[in-house]
Structures are given as C-alpha cells and as structure tokens.
Symmetry: C2
Subunit: 260 residues, 2 copies
C-alpha cells in the first residue's frame, strides 16, 4: 500500500508506506512537517526489529518491564487492564501507524497490557535507539510530545464516553472514532472500513455486556445508521452517526500544521 502525502490522508498517526522495493518508509508527517533527514531516521528505526504476531496475542503484560517502544505497522492492537477478579476493560485501540508508548522505559513496569486484535506487524524500538532519535531530531521529539498529548486526550474522551453516554451513544462514538482515525490514515473505502472487533470486545471497550451490545447494534441497524458484518463497518451517514454519538473530533487534534 501507498500513503498519505495529501491533506486528507495525513494524521496524528505515523504512517508508513512500502516503496516499490518493499522497504518501509516512515512518515511521522503527523503534526509537524519532517525534513527528509527526519524521515530517514525513522525509516531506519522501524526496520531494525520487526515482528509479526497472531490475533489475540499479548504483546506485553501488566507488571512486566517495558523494553521497547512498539509501532504498529499493520493490523489492530489494543491496550487493556484487568481487575484482580478478572473483569477486563479495553482502554484503546491502535491501528497501523500508531506508536504505542513513547518513552515507556521511564516506567519500571507496565500498569496495563498490550495485545493484538488481528494479526499484527510491529516494529520494536529499543531504549537506546529511541533516545538517539530524540536527540538527533528535535522535530521528531516534539512530534512525539504531540502524539502523547493526543493519546491522553483520547483516553479522556473514553472516560467521558463510558461515564456519560448511553449504550447506544457509546457504541456509536466508538464507531465514529475508529472510522475517522482510519479515514485520516487513508484506510477507509468510501463509507466503509475494516472493523475486526467482536461484539465481546466492543463490550469490553464500552463497559457494557456482550448481550447488550448485540441488542444495541441491532437497534442501530434498524435505524439505518450502520451495517456491520464480516469485520467490516459501513456508515450510511457519518454526520448523523456523529450527531447521535455527540461526537466532537476536536480531541483528535487533527488541526495541525502537517495538514494542508
């Protein structure tokens, strides 16, 4: 696949492309316009250690010591957290181009877990590599701050989502967020996008039960809001979906200088 040099397809996400030679080229064309030297630095970093993981597999678990910054190159991944008695909350989703935790080695141990949703291709960046990148390019260092600020903003929105919205609104909001993020990185096809989550996973992400998610999605289908099957989501009218979800994309902070 190729990528994202026009306004539409740029975003917070670090997006990559395969050139004709199938080598990865990284664009942290997020937030700042990076010089080609910066791009080169990132491209290098992403090639050093690449792994492929099967679906529903842990990347790192709560309590473990973080050793790498993970960058998702293909597929969906997620953060989650489990209470002592097993209840599980999904905290966020990662899609291609997302950087999991800049500077995570500063923390002694993970307070949550990372796992794949689909089959995932990711790049691991070691602490020393990471520090070198930050030192060599202040632009990238600033882009990483920006990335982190957006990450917190998304987490705040999720808190609000679960705390204030009804089941119907919550699920609609999740659809909006993922659709917009995928579109920003050029991964939508008109009014459709991939959506590899099971209803149980939607439930764990929204603080609902799987049964109620099922009921609610059927209601959304009846309302002609969406279609969801075979791991694909179709949004008939995004404005309407955003409206019923009380979705305000401001928290994604897509209004940065990287955009046209």
């Amino acid at each position: 696949m190729n990528v994202a040099t026009d306004g539409t397809a740029q975003g917070r996400w670090i997006i990559f492309s395969r050139g004709p030679e199938h080598s990865l080229t990284l664009h942290l064309s997020a937030f700042v316009r990076l010089a080609s030297a910066d791009r080169e630095i990132l491209t290098q970093a992403l090639q050093r250690r690449v792994r492929i993981l099967e679906p529903r597999q842990d990347i790192i678990r709560e309590g473990e010591r973080p050793r790498f910054v993970n960058v998702i190159l293909e597929g969906w991944a997620q953060r989650y957290k489990q209470l002592a008695d097993g209840r599980r909350q999904i905290l966020s989703f990662f899609i291609a181009g997302d950087l999991c935790d800049a500077n995570i080695f500063i923390l002694k141990q993970m307070d949550h877990s990372l796992s794949t949703v689909t089959r995932v291709k990711l790049a691991e960046i070691s602490q020393s590599e990471f520090q070198e990148i930050m030192e060599r390019s202040p632009r990238i260092a600033q882009a990483l701050w920006w990335n982190e600020l957006v990450t917190v903003a998304i987490q705040r929105e999720w808190t609000t989502n679960i705390g204030q919205r009804t089941a119907y609104e919550r699920i609609a909001h999740l659809f909006c967020e993922m659709f917009v993020r995928l579109r920003t990185t050029g991964r939508t096809d008109d009014d459709e996008c991939e959506f590899p989550l099971t209803q149980s996973e939607i439930a764990e992400a929204t603080g609902l039960t799987q049964v109620h998610v099922n009921r609610t999605i059927q209601e959304m289908r009846r309302d002609q809001l969406i279609e969801l099957r075979n791991k694909r989501l179709k949004v008939f009218d995004l404005d309407r979906l955003m409206s019923v979800a009380l979705f305000n994309p401001n928290y994604l902070h897509l209004d940065h200088e990287g955009l046209a």
Copy 2:
C-alpha cells in the same frame, strides 16, 4: 508548610515549600533526583506569574487556545468535559504540586476545561519559559515525560474505574487514589485528609448520580469504611478500603529512583 525530602513524602507531584523567607522553592523531586541548579530553574519559573482563584471558577475552557502550563501551588483543581447537551464528566483532580499540562501549547485548542474546586493558588509558565526550562535541563525534561506518562496512566485507571467497577467500588477507588496521592505529598494527617468535593462532584467524577453517591456513601459509613464530613475524609482501614476498591497503586508509578 514544609516539605518532602524523605522517601515518604516524595512523589510524582512537584512539591514546593515555603522557606523561612516565605519564598517558593520547587522540588521536582519526582522521579529523578534534581540537581540544585534544576531546582533553581523551577523555583524561578514558579515565581514569575502567580494567581489566586476562587472556588468553582474556570481556569481555561474547552475551545480556548492554551497559553500557559499551570502548576497548582495550593488547593484542588479539576479537569472536566461537557457534552453538547450539558452532561458533564470530571476527568481528574489536581492537588498542590501537580503540573497541569506540560507542553500543552503544542495543541491549537483545549479539548476539555480546567477549573478550581477550592480556592487555588497557581503558577503560570509561558511557552517560551517552558521551552527554555526543557532546553536548560534534560533532567527536568525527562521528569516532565515521566509526569505525562503517569497522567495518562491515571486517566486509564479512571476509564477502568467507570467501565468495570460498581458504584461502591468506584467511590472507594476515588477515595483511595486521592488519599494515597495526598499522603505521598505529605498532606494527610494520620488516617485523615482534606476532601473538598461535594457529592455532586463525586458523582460527576464517577459517572453516577448525586442521589446514588449519597446512598452509597451512607452504605460505606455503615460498613465502618470511612467517615466523610466537613470536607474531611477519614479512612479507618486503608488496606480494607483498597481491597474493596480493587485498588492497585501501581498505576501511580511511585516506585521511582527519587524514592529512598
């Protein structure tokens, strides 16, 4: 008040002290041991622009352009977010020593609001001052990253709290978090601490209604878990409170090198 040079009282929070001459001295003795030069830099930055705000007053509102990093010197403040129809979610609380949003100027506009809970004394740090600090002291810059990582971790815990815990557990968890954070900064008195929130505010922070918060707190009182009146919280048995809340303090990341 004086502060926090021993292990117990150090924490993630940037704590300050009044010397005998009533001048502020800042300790970002969080996470890293700072050199006295670093301390001096921070002390300076915190003296330049100090404001006092009355209770329940906005500091900055969603949509506005951020101009300062705010550091809380005294009192409690909060983040909140409001949906288009008025529903409000409180997203986190700040206590003395907390730094609101490092590098916030990177974002074009606020995606949430900041307001006081009690009367608050805060220091504003401008963009240029802030950048200068980061450049002059890499130790501080790293401490700021650490601070940001803990901020996201707390937000994740709040998401989990609202998504998975029952009303009783949620409120207990909030009590635990604030008690532990206050204790870490030396602001508890044995088994008691200040707790200036109204039941309505507890409700907005936990995604419950004020009526149900009231019911639940009475139940906690009957269970001899806590006492709460006159804006003071008494915790009879912190271990038991943590246990019913399924509270695991790992997300506060207090196990850093700054600690003895």
